[in-house]
C-alpha cells in the first residue's frame, strides 16, 4: 500500500519534471521525485542506498542544476521549433535507453532481495560486493570519472593561466 502510494508519487513528480513550463518547477519536481525513489529504496530495506540517493542526487546534483538554471534565468519557455535530424537522434537515443532499461529490468525482476533493514547489513553488503565481486567495474568507473574530471578542468581552465 505504502509502496503503491510512493510509486505513484514518484511517477507523478517525474512527469512533472518534463511537463513543467518553468524550469525551476521542474527542478523542484526532480527533488521530490528523488525523494520518492529514496522512499522506495527504504521500503526494500536498502537504507544506505536510499540515504545516498538523497545525499548525492537531491542534496548536491540538483542543487547544481538549480544553480545553473538561476544563472541562465529562463523567463520564457524554451523555443519549441526543433530541427528534424536532432529530433530523430534524440528519439533514437531515448528509445534505445528505454529498450536497454526494459531488458535489464525484465531480467532482474523478482530477484531484488529485500534486505534486513536497520541492522547495518545494507552498508556492509554494498561495500563487500563493491570491493570483491564488482571490484573491476568499480575501478574502471573510477578511472573513467577521474579522466572526466581532468578533462573538465582542462576545458574550463581560463586561458590566461597558461601564460603564467
Amino acid at each position: 500500500m505504502v509502496f503503491a502510494i510512493f510509486s505513484v508519487f514518484t511517477l507523478l513528480t517525474a512527469a512533472g519534471v518534463i511537463l513543467s513550463r518553468n524550469v525551476i518547477y521542474s527542478a523542484l519536481n526532480l527533488v521530490l521525485c528523488f525523494f520518492g525513489l529514496a522512499t522506495l529504496y527504504l521500503l526494500w530495506g536498502a537504507t544506505f542506498i536510499s540515504m545516498i540517493q538523497i545525499l548525492i542526487y537531491a542534496g548536491a546534483i540538483v542543487v547544481l542544476f538549480v544553480f545553473v538554471v538561476m544563472l541562465l534565468n529562463f523567463e520564457k519557455p524554451i523555443d519549441q521549433s526543433v530541427k528534424l535530424p536532432l529530433m530523430l537522434l534524440s528519439g533514437a537515443g531515448a528509445w534505445g535507453l528505454a529498450f536497454l532499461l526494459l531488458r535489464v529490468l525484465s531480467k532482474s525482476v523478482g530477484e531484488i532481495p529485500i534486505l534486513e533493514s536497520n541492522s547495518g547489513a545494507s552498508v556492509r553488503t554494498v561495500s563487500k560486493l563493491l570491493f570483491s565481486q564488482y571490484v573491476w567495474p568499480f575501478e574502471v568507473l573510477t578511472i573513467f570519472l577521474l579522466a572526466l574530471i581532468v578533462g573538465i578542468y582542462v576545458l574550463a581552465k581560463p586561458e590566461g593561466e597558461e601564460k603564467k
Binding site: V31, T47, I52, I54, V63, L64, L71
Partner: protein, 355 residues
Amino acid sequence: MNGLDFLIAALKAIVILVAVIQVVPVMIYVERKVAALIQDRPGPNRVGPFGLFQPVADALKFLLKEDPIPHYTNRLLYTLAPFLSLLPACLVIAALPIADKAILFGREVTIQIAELDVSLIYILAIGSLGVYGILFGGWASNNKYSLIGSLRSASQMVSYELPLGLAAVGAVMVFGTFSLREMVLQQEGTLLGFLPNWGIFYQPVGFLIFLISSFAETNRLPFDLPETEAELVAGFHTEYGSMKFATFFMAEYMNLATMAGLMTVMYFGGWHLPWITDAALLELLGSQNLLCLVQVLTYIVKVSCFMFLYVLIRWTLPRFRFDQLLSLSWGSLIPLGLLNIIVSATLMYLIGVKQ
C-alpha cells in the same frame, strides 16, 4: 506496533522536537547578550529581569506583524521557501541520540526519535536539503541581491558538504558504524587511563575540519556570505518579513543545534560523563530514569558549550571574502580531509584494529 508503542514513539517525537525548538529563543537571548558583552554595552535589559523576556517580545512581534507578499515575487515558491528551509532542520533531529534509555510505562525507551542504522548519513543527507529553502527563497524574491545571496549559499553549501562528509568518514572508520547511537556507546570509559574515551582523541584533525565546515554549512559568521549586510542588503531573505523571516531564522538556529549535537555525539562522547562509566553512575544514582536525566543534562551542557563557541566566534572574527571561502574548502579542507582518512586508515592497519 501496538497502541502503547505508537504512543511512546509519538511522545518521543513531540517532546524532543519541542525541546529542541526551545533552542531558538534561548539562542536569540544569548546571542544578543554575548554581542553586547563583547561590544561593551548592556544589551537587552528592559523586558523582564535581565531582559530575559526579550525573546518572547521578539516572537510576539514576529507573529503579530503584517505578513506581506511583494507583488513582483513568485507567490508559490516565495511562500514555500521558509518551510523548505525549516523542514529539513526539524527532520534531522529525529536521528540525534540524546540519552541512552529510560523506563517509561514499564518499557525501555531510547531517547532518540528514530534508531536508524545509517543515522549519520541521514543527518548529512537531509541537512543538505536545507539549501533549497535558501535557493528558492532568493530566486522567488525576484531581487538581484537575493539571487546573488542564494547562489553564493548554494556554492558554499555544496563546497562545504565535502569536507564535512570526509571528516565524518574518519569518525565512521574509527567507530566502524554509521549509527550515532553505537558511536556514543563506544565512547564510554577512559583512554590510556587518564583521557576520556572520546572521538576527538582519535580524530583531532577530523574534528577541526568538521567544526570549520559546520560554520559554513549553517551560514554563520565568518562564513555568512549569503547574507552579507554590507554587500547584499540581507542576502536571500531581503524580501522576507515577519514570521516568514523568523522561520528562516529558526531554521538557522536549529541547524546550529544539530551541528553542535553531531559534534557532541561524534567527538565528545555524547551523553557520557567523562571518566565515569554508565554502570558505575547507575550504581551511584540507583535508578535508570535518574541516570537518563543526568545523561540528558550532560548532553545539553556539551551542546551548549558548542553553541556558545558559535556565538563567540560570530562576534570576534571578521567575514571571509567569497573567493577565500571557496579556496579554503577546495584548497585546504578537502585535501586535509582526504589526508586524514589515509593517515587514519594506515594507523588503524598498523595498530591492527579490525572492524
